[in-house]
């Protein structure tokens, strides 16, 4: 199965619907108008309308939820969180309140508080599909795929027969390499929601991954395309075309591949598959033209590859010098590399690390900032930013960078450890404990982690647990 397609399907699942607003009572019209403004994207207008309702009736939980959502969408996460909490105070049994708070935490990259709020939702409404979806999403972002699967499977097996659950679980099963289970779930989901595009896509991808069903995959994949709701149907056309070529159904393949070419024509594989199909059909000249285009695109890729690999080798050599603590030579080597390739983010990050080690912290920050600018989704660079800030005595700034790192890669153990330290420094001991624990689970058993963990436990009066951590700390320092 195409890994890209899997990524695509997962991406489509992250765009979860906004929380349903329950609107009723004496302020119903005003609430409806405010919700309408929110839905239409006029967040500022919605905010002022919700505020007006709250001025008149401060205990209107729905208005607090609406305000929270409006502020969240405008980027004021502190106020959004406060509004969500006020909604919960106004209506203690309202599951939408912790759900909304969870979304705010997720926007902040605070996975653990988000999970905690979502567990509250499930206490109020054990079958909340929104909560189940969000828990799965957060766990997957943290790299805890098996837990995500277990939660969804548990809900599904106890009777939460919602197509979204089937869809999400089917996708998780695909990522776990269990296409047979993914297929079964997609088919069950489709009995609940016939024609649901993501379920059709999941069904098609699962079939494509199963040798005995592979040829059948073209039907659900085709139906998914016909829904008109797939974000990049060209890639699905390519998948169908490839299967048809494989099956020797060359004439049928051509149509799909031509559509794929129109939509994702930059992909070399499209032209390669087209060339194969055309050559099999005796369309020699067209096949040659497709191959030429393939060569052109793949040649570009090859050239990029060659350049990248040459850079990688030189970077490796610079890293080796740095690891041997020959920092001046390492700096010279990486700067020589950057002279030729000033926008090579890994080289910039290495330069930042070397400069930092040499005590040139301002220069290090400049190099790292450039690396982050070039590759903003690279978790390690945000982790480094967090590290630099911790050393600079800026735990709040460090926290922000580390949360960003963990949003991008929840399995970055070092970032969990450092975030634990940053939170502990700020007196946020409970949350610090969660990250220290996670760092240990991920295999970072270092004295600093044990020491920080012990301190946070002690802060909360959990002395015996703190003592355990101190024992572990002493054991590590003794052996180290």
């Amino acid at each position: 199965m195409s890994r890209f397609l899997l990524a695509l399907i997962i991406a489509s699942l992250t765009a979860l619907p906004a929380p349903a607003q329950e609107v009723g009572g004496p302020e119903a019209d005003a609430l409806n108008a405010a919700v309408a403004a929110l839905v239409q994207g006029d967040h500022a207008a919605a905010e002022s309308q919700f505020r007006a309702i709250l001025d008149r009736a401060p205990q209107t939980a729905e208005a607090w939820l609406g305000l929270s959502e409006a502020r969240r969408l405008q980027g004021d996460l502190d106020e959004a969180l406060e509004a969500a909490q006020r909604a919960g105070e106004a209506a203690p049994g309202l599951a939408a309140a912790p759900l909304t708070a969870a979304r705010v935490h997720m926007d902040r990259g605070a996975a653990q508080p988000a999970l905690s709020e979502l567990e509250d939702v499930l206490e109020l409404d054990p079958d909340s599909v929104d909560a189940l979806m969000l828990i799965s999403l957060v766990l997957r972002q943290l790299g805890r795929i098996d837990e995500a699967a277990a939660g969804l499977a548990n809900a599904w097996n106890r009777g939460v027969r919602h197509p979204a659950v089937a869809e999400q679980l089917s996708i998780v099963r695909l990522t776990q390499g269990d296409p047979a289970a993914a297929l079964r779930l997609a088919e069950e989901g489709l009995t609940l929601a016939p024609g649901r595009p993501t379920l059709l896509l999941s069904k098609g991808l699962a079939k494509a991954a199963l040798t005995e069903h592979r040829a059948e995959a073209v039907v659900p994949l085709g139906e998914a395309i016909h829904s008109g709701l797939l974000p990049e149907p060209g890639r699905v056309h390519l998948e169908i075309g490839a299967i048809l070529v494989e099956e020797g159904r060359f004439a049928e393949a051509i149509g799909h591949l031509e559509t794929a070419r129109d939509e994702v024509g930059h992909e070399p594989a499209v032209h390669y598959q087209l060339a194969t199909a055309r050559r099999a059909l005796g369309q020699a000249e067209e096949a040659l033209a497709d191959l030429a285009r393939f060569e052109e695109l793949a040649g570009e890729s090859d050239a990029d590859d060659a350049t990248r690999k040459a850079l990688g080798t030189r970077l490796n050599e610079a890293q080796a010098l740095a690891a041997a603590e020959r920092l001046d030579e390492a700096l010279e080597a990486v700067r020589a590399l950057l002279l030729q390739n000033p926008d090579d983010a890994p080289a910039l990050a290495l330069e930042a690390k070397i400069l930092f080690s040499l005590g040139h912290r301002t220069e290090a920050e400049v190099s790292l900032a450039r690396a982050r600018e070039l590759l903003p989704t690279h978790a390690e660079y945000h982790f480094l930013a967090g590290l630099f800030r911790m050393y600079a005595g800026l735990p709040v700034e460090a926290e922000k960078a580390l949360r960003r790192a963990l949003t991008l890669d929840g399995s970055l153990a070092e970032a969990h450890a450092l975030l634990g330290g940053s939170l502990a420094k700020q007196g946020k001991s409970e949350e610090a404990i969660v990250h220290f624990q996670r760092a240990l689970e991920l295999g970072i058993d270092q004295p600093d982690v044990r020491l920080g963990y012990a301190g946070a436990l002690e802060e909360l009066g959990r002395q015996s647990e703190a003592d355990e951590q101190m024992k572990a700390y002493r054991r590590l320092t003794a052996t180290n």
């Binding site: 390499g177 991954a209 592979r214 494989e246 594989a269 598959q273 194969t276 099999a280 690999k309 050599e317």
Partner: protein
């Protein structure tokens, strides 16, 4: 990936067509010790992770002395790389089969105890004197040994173009210019030498690993034309053989791939596009892999090709190509989709997912279970011997894999039938009826580890036959011939290959399973001649002569 019920269903259908193979009875057993093949490859690594260390080594199985029994030649990495003393005692070894079926190390006095840093081996009668001569590829100068027919060899490559100081991998013989003698094609791997050795691994901890081949340029392959007396001259540029930095050849198949009656060359390149050289019959070639669909996989991606095999896996009469690759890629099956065109059908045949976790090297196609179709064996083993220190989910020693064909070209993995416990650092693999009982046994080499011989047990239930050729207008061994066996409306096809798998060459013969009482054998010779021989029966080794003077068949030593 195949679900359990389907696996079970296919397994059931296989037991129905091959009644001798019980659901739980292994098809093979380890007979290495019993046969007396006591050989362990050593790479003499220094810890610097020099590139040649992890690649070897290969083997050749052929009748060295013309006594009708197969002998085994095993390649050793005996020449020292810088920083290593090597071991002068550890040379390539020749094991000769005695009348009792056991092997004896007869290296001393044979002249083939070669001391280069060995990679692979190939053989053929290069001088037309009726015996098989031996070519050995090395990291360093290759060696060519002329056979005197009595198990004594003389090295004749020294000083010639064959003995250039390069890194050769697989080699094979073919009649490239249709003059009746055997020419030589040598695949070459990387332009690596100690002076350009690079650090790869974890720079922060200093932990070294073997580098990816992308770090180095390739080494151009070589085509050497025979003047008829066993002297070879290199012909590359004018022959159409490429010379570029992308030549990173490891695996090799020599055969008529586009069914035009002329010998072609297929080179499996590691991480660069594979090459298909279509022959003109005049010693020149045209590279056509991309247009033919065998250069890159279905996604248009280059793969890290190691071993390669050729066979007709779906019974359509056309040659299919199977290639082994790195982990996280899949092995790839290019199935013929008309003359001269192949389509990647790896996913559809069940071979993709089972191969993804492993690094495949040697591979063998053969009818291991005697049900009339060709099955598949793959020897796996990671390239990086300390891979577990970089990624705890991977390991150096990996399981060998046996896939049974359901007759339509769809495969089901049946490791339980292999009879091998534990994992291997697998490299070369060959199929050969080593115990002369009519079925295909397996020989597997390991990197820095012992060679294994797995004896096939299926002959107790059904019968096989073997066919050798004696060319007159064609080359002496009939390399490149297509051989068909027809019985009961079923035609099985084999190609007599001088190179396949990885760094290796199996015996110059083909094997069939025959369940009908008699069959008709047809040989399509490289010269264009066709020989037909009726009344073929199982339990025999046939030799078909191109000039019609075929000797009588020989019953197998062990009754079936």
């Amino acid at each position: 990936m195949t679900s359990t019920p389907v696996r079970a269903g296919l397994a059931l259908s296989l037991t129905l067509v091959a009644p001798g193979v019980g659901a739980q009875s292994p098809l093979f057993e380890d007979a290495t010790r019993e046969l007396g093949i006591d050989f362990s490859h050593r790479h003499f690594g220094t810890g610097r992770k020099y590139m040649p260390e992890n690649m070897g080594a290969g083997l050749a199985v052929f009748d060295v002395d013309g006594d009708g029994q197969l002998d085994v030649y095993l390649v050793q990495a005996s020449g020292a790389l810088p920083g290593s003393t090597g071991d002068t005692e550890a040379t390539n070894r020749l094991f000769r089969q005695g009348a009792d079926g056991r092997f004896q190390d007869v290296t001393e006095g044979s002249g083939v105890g070669h001391g280069g840093y060995g990679m692979g081996a190939s053989f053929g009668d290069i001088d037309g004197d009726g015996d098989l001569d031996l070519f050995v590829t090395n990291y360093g100068p290759d060696a060519l040994f002329r056979n005197d027919g009595e198990c004594r060899f003389t090295e004749v490559a020294a000083g010639s173009e064959l003995a250039r100081d390069v890194w050769s991998s697989s080699a094979g013989m073919l009649d490239a210019d249709n003059d009746g003698d055997l020419d030589l094609f040598v695949a070459r791997y990387l332009d690596w030498h100690p002076a350009n050795h690079k650090f790869c691994g974890n720079a922060q901890t200093g932990l070294r690993s073997y580098c990816h081949p992308d770090v180095y340029e390739g080494a151009p392959d070589g085509l050497f034309l025979n003047d008829g007396t066993g002297r070879f001259a290199r012909t590359v540029d004018r022959a159409g053989i490429r010379t570029s930095a992308n030549d990173k050849g490891l695996g090799l198949v020599l055969s008529d791939l586009n069914a035009d009656g002329i010998q072609d060359i297929y080179v499996a390149n590691d991480s660069t596009r594979n090459y298909l050289y279509l022959g003109s019959g005049k010693g020149t070639f045209r590279e056509d892999a991309l247009a033919a669909g065998v250069a890159v996989n279905a996604r248009g991606a280059r793969e890290a090709s190691m071993g390669v095999e050729l066979g007709d896996l779906n019974g359509d009469g056309l040659p299919d190509l199977f290639l082994t690759h790195l982990d996280e890629e899949t092995n790839t099956l290019y199935m013929s989709s008309g003359v001269g065109l192949w389509v990647d059908r790896t996913e559809a045949t069940g071979l993709a997912e089972p191969s993804r976790p492993w690094v495949g090297f040697g591979t063998v196609l053969g009818d291991f279970d005697h049900d009339g179709d060709e099955d598949l064996f793959v020897a796996n083993g990671h390239i990086i011997d300390n891979i577990d220190r970089f990624d705890g989910t991977r390991r150096h020693r990996q399981p060998p894999q046996l896939f049974l064909n359901d007759g339509s070209g769809r495969f089901v993995e049946r490791r339980d039938l292999l009879g091998v416990e534990g994992d291997l650092a697998g490299r070369a693999a060959l199929g050969a009826d080593i115990d002369d009982d009519g079925d295909l046994d397996l020989l597997i080499t390991q990197n820095d580890g012992p060679t294994l011989v797995l004896r096939n047990l299926s002959s107790t239930a059904t019968a096989g036959l073997r066919v050798s050729l004696a060319g007159s207008n064609s080359n002496p061994q009939g390399y490149g011939a297509r051989i068909e066996l027809a019985a009961d409306g079923l035609t099985q096809r084999r190609w007599l290959k001088s190179a396949s798998s990885y760094l290796s060459q199996g015996p110059p013969e083909v094997h069939f399973a025959l369940r009908a009482e008699t069959a008709v054998l047809t040989v399509y010779w490289p010269s264009g001649a066709i020989s037909k021989r009726p009344d073929i029966r199982a339990g025999h080794h046939y030799t078909v002569a191109e000039d019609g003077a075929s000797p009588p068949s020989r019953p197998f030593a062990k009754s079936q």
